[in-house]
Symmetry: C2
Subunit: 334 residues, 2 copies
Amino acid sequence: MKVYKPKNRLTAKQYIDGVLNGDRVILSRAITIIESNLESDKILAKQIIQAILPHAGNSMRIGVTGVPGVGKSTFIEAFGKYLTTLNHKVAILSIDPSSQRSKGSILGDKTRMEDLSHNDKAYIRPSASGDTLGGVANKTGETMLLCEAAGFDIVLIETVGVGQSETAVHGMTDFFLLLMLAGAGDELQGIKKGIMEMADMVVINKADGDNIKKSEMARLQYQNALHIFPQPESGWTPVVTKASSTKNTGIDSVWDEVLKYKDLVDQNGYFAKNRNQQNIKWMYNNINEELKQLFYGSPAIKNTLAELETDVVSSKISPVKAAQSIIESFKKSI
Amino acid sequence: MKVYKPKNRLTAKQYIDGVLNGDRVILSRAITIIESNLESDKILAKQIIQAILPHAGNSMRIGVTGVPGVGKSTFIEAFGKYLTTLNHKVAILSIDPSSQRSKGSILGDKTRMEDLSHNDKAYIRPSASGDTLGGVANKTGETMLLCEAAGFDIVLIETVGVGQSETAVHGMTDFFLLLMLAGAGDELQGIKKGIMEMADMVVINKADGDNIKKSEMARLQYQNALHIFPQPESGWTPVVTKASSTKNTGIDSVWDEVLKYKDLVDQNGYFAKNRNQQNIKWMYNNINEELKQLFYGSPAIKNTLAELETDVVSSKISPVKAAQSIIESFKKSI
């Protein structure tokens, strides 16, 4: 692992004040601290989070998912722009731990959301990278808090592909939006029952031109499919609509549904209940990260691990036994 | 969490002897012990693994991936059948932690691999479920060892969808096979550069009927795409071929390539080196699971966690502070 020297770090107070004042440059730099793996930055990050926490939480948190090719970026660009015209401040974060080896997709991300990236009322931050989904999710969660403290009242968290990251995003948002295409087929879209079940709303995207008829059919089909599922705990009945991100149709009704949802869950108490459960989960995520830190951060453990690696390679000890023995010595060490 | 009473457990010796004798019924029951979350079963599982370990490792471990809809099950059925005609004993395992909420896909899995499931020389075991990919991967890895000890000389590990499970499967296999379709497009197939990079072989599936021409074009295209990547550490140049699982064409050449690969990596030492690295990784997976067990298994921790959950919900303490405080008391407790 390379060791980078932190340069140009501000004081905790400077980061905190900057974020609370809505200073976008300092917000970006504070997020860099959150994402950093340096020990000194981790301490700084905790100070910042602890201080901004009372000022966070006041946004509508919306998760957006769908397989690659569904037009997620274009949708988020259109949706984000619409929200800014209503005078909302929109932060757009993404979570994508899937391609850990080369970090990034075949298609570059540079050209995405061209318009929105120049919009004062929007803030776009791509995914932090990391070794574990838990770690990445923690960082995205804390980034969300910083954005809220900086005055963004809508946070869109985008997730890429089909897998565990949907569960992570669902676990940190208030409303979960699934984008789909007409006619592409359930199977090829990789839409699992589990992801359908999480959706508060399904939007059939690219419903324009020749595609409108097919999209309406798909809408009815998914609306029926959603009836199979038991009523969600929120009391909300998931809706399916059509939209065209390029023709800018159906975008406003997405926000209308979000507002209807918010009214309902405010009244029936689910909004607060869900946030509470998410906080508990967040506590557990933090515990797991701290636990690893406690273990792998110990110099004695580091030395023993180096020896055990050699012994495992030379087949002196099995990986299972090696694990047991180091856990035993960890127990004694603290 | 419900507590299930284990019924009809055998002794460790009975499991070990049964597995080593290639008794399929006992193999299945031993895998159930590996997958169990009961404390008593965990101890039993460790005894079994420790005992069979010297008899494991003698198989060719092949990972198979590709998005849903690519025809993975049909391919594995055709490939598995072909291998049994060469007198190999083939174990087929799967790893799929993606749909944790409802456990399972929209399409049932019951009808998959009808033929192979009645074949003496084949053994099919679906994925263990679990809360973490690390946990599921550990269990699949140990299941693989049991299958090897029971005499299976080829293990196919199938992974579902696009995400972190590919990395996990790549991390426990010798050869990594990526199935793709002609004309479906990179984007919709959700194939990330990171997954392409891991592939030792790409098979364009469903290369039959009207699809043959398109498949040959796709083959050339992917073969060219693979040239972009740096030469893998194995020294192997990844190949792209066509196959039809339903017409049974191109299936034999998949195995031919695996054998060529095996020859190369046996000679240049990469096979052993890769297995060593995987063993080290396996040690770390085990350490992480044991560490969690040490923490969450402690009665004092359990009590404190219950209190902290209440405090987090009533906003008496932030999730971050709560995590810090329990880690502090954990340090003192052991």
